[in-house]
Amino acid sequence: MTFLTRLDDGSLKQGHAPSFALSQRGRAGLEILGAIQTFSSGTLRPVAAATFATSPQGEALSADHAAEHPALSQRERIAKARTVCEDDPVYRLERFFQRYVAEENFNRGIPAIEERRAQFLAYDAAMENAAGEAGDAGAETGSLTLDEGLEIPRYYARVEWHLEPGGWDGYDLYGALFAFGVGPYVFSKGGYAAVGIGDDIVNQRVKTIAQFPKDSYARIYEPGCGGVSTLKAVHGRFPEAELTGADLSPLLLENGARMARRFGFPVHLKQADCAKASGEADASYDGVITYALHHELPPKANRALLAEMFRILKPGADIVLADPPPFRAVSMFHAVILDWDTHHREEPFFSAVLHESLEAMLAEAGFTQIESYPLGQDQYPWITRARKPDTPSHQEATR
């Protein structure tokens, strides 16, 4: 899933340049959340990490976490480490601020964008007109295909992801809220969930696309695309590639289609449950990209999704996944931090997926040349990439 964190960037098509901004109250109310988050993750968290690392129990658990043959299971270690952390008032305070900011992103953000509804709709219409006027006659255009009869999986329908009231489709101006409020004023500061302090997920997305090993790709697919933030980064690196994205959320797809028109690149967006059936033909894509998707799916759905991606990829095609790091790849303290999101930031499958291995799932699906590694601080984003074998016999041999 993807958030927009910056809308008025330099790649917007030139034309009329309408502007939109929150009110002083809306802006300042979100900006202070960004400052609280920065203090929480940048100042308090290192203090709590040092307290944990220097305590006898923390030291022992960290040694077991790093051991080749640990005495405790990963789940047992994290549970014990959490208990040690929770004895530290600084850790408790840091976690309280994290939760508070996550709540207030919407408690403050929704009124901030709602009070500007009329201005935003006027801005949006003006931008749409400008995009239409700037469009090249005869240039390839994108498409949006919604499926009203799509069966929404139960794991998805009941979750208010990241404490977002009503879930991804719960409020019609969520796109504007992220683009003009929470994105630039809070998320862009980093220091939440798996995102390191000071890291901006816009830049991380660009680095992720650079992990595709080839110089060019004819057709690239993104399951769980949300809007078009990742596909926009893909277009930046592979401007000739035909892009297709799929998601369960009609609101995110509609926003994505508008943004793609505005940014001036063609993309085909489809509402589909890619863990069941993407609707794409066998061996029809040269690359698959995912960004921050897998921790939002139950492991079973992840396995089904990767099998479906294997089916639609051509022999020799590449798959690049970017997600939070597995628990085994981070420090004992950071494993507690990541595990916390599962219960406190409405991420029901976060820990389940971080206990598992996307590498193993890719191997089960038939992929080869599998490798995984971190790109940024705190091992995030964690890249797992692989290739579909280029001969049928090789495919059989790897199964």
Binding site: A21, A28, G29, A35, F39, L93
Partner: protein
């Protein structure tokens, strides 16, 4: 007959009291930000209307100055419990955005 409890809030309410403090912190900051913007517009334009204040978006040096003041404010308020533990002169000055003359800000 037992005496009515005068501890009206149970210990579990601590988190909600902290939420109230944080909400108040946000409201104070919003007012402080508005004050900075008001002073800026008065200094640069000589007058200001409510609509101008509502619509004003700081840029450039003003935005940087507000961001620095905002972070200092957040550090002081949200970091008050930390201030009870980290009480060296250097740490106190560092939290205030100052350095002790002639010494490192990281010392104790």
């Amino acid at each position: 007959m037992s005496t009515p409890a005068t501890d009206y809030l149970p210990p579990e309410s601590t988190t909600d009291v902290a939420r109230m403090v944080m909400a108040l912190m946000s409201e104070v900051w919003i007012a402080r930000d508005r004050q900075i913007v008001t002073e800026y517009l008065l200094e640069t334009k000589g007058s200001v209307t409510r609509a101008e204040l509502d619509d004003f978006v700081p840029t450039g040096e003003l935005a940087e100055a507000i961001a620095a003041e905002r972070q200092r404010f957040a550090n002081l308020v949200a970091g008050a419990p930390l201030a009870a533990r980290q009480r060296s002169v250097a740490q106190i000055l560092e939290r205030a955005g100052m350095a002790r003359p002639g010494t490192s800000t990281s010392g104790s």
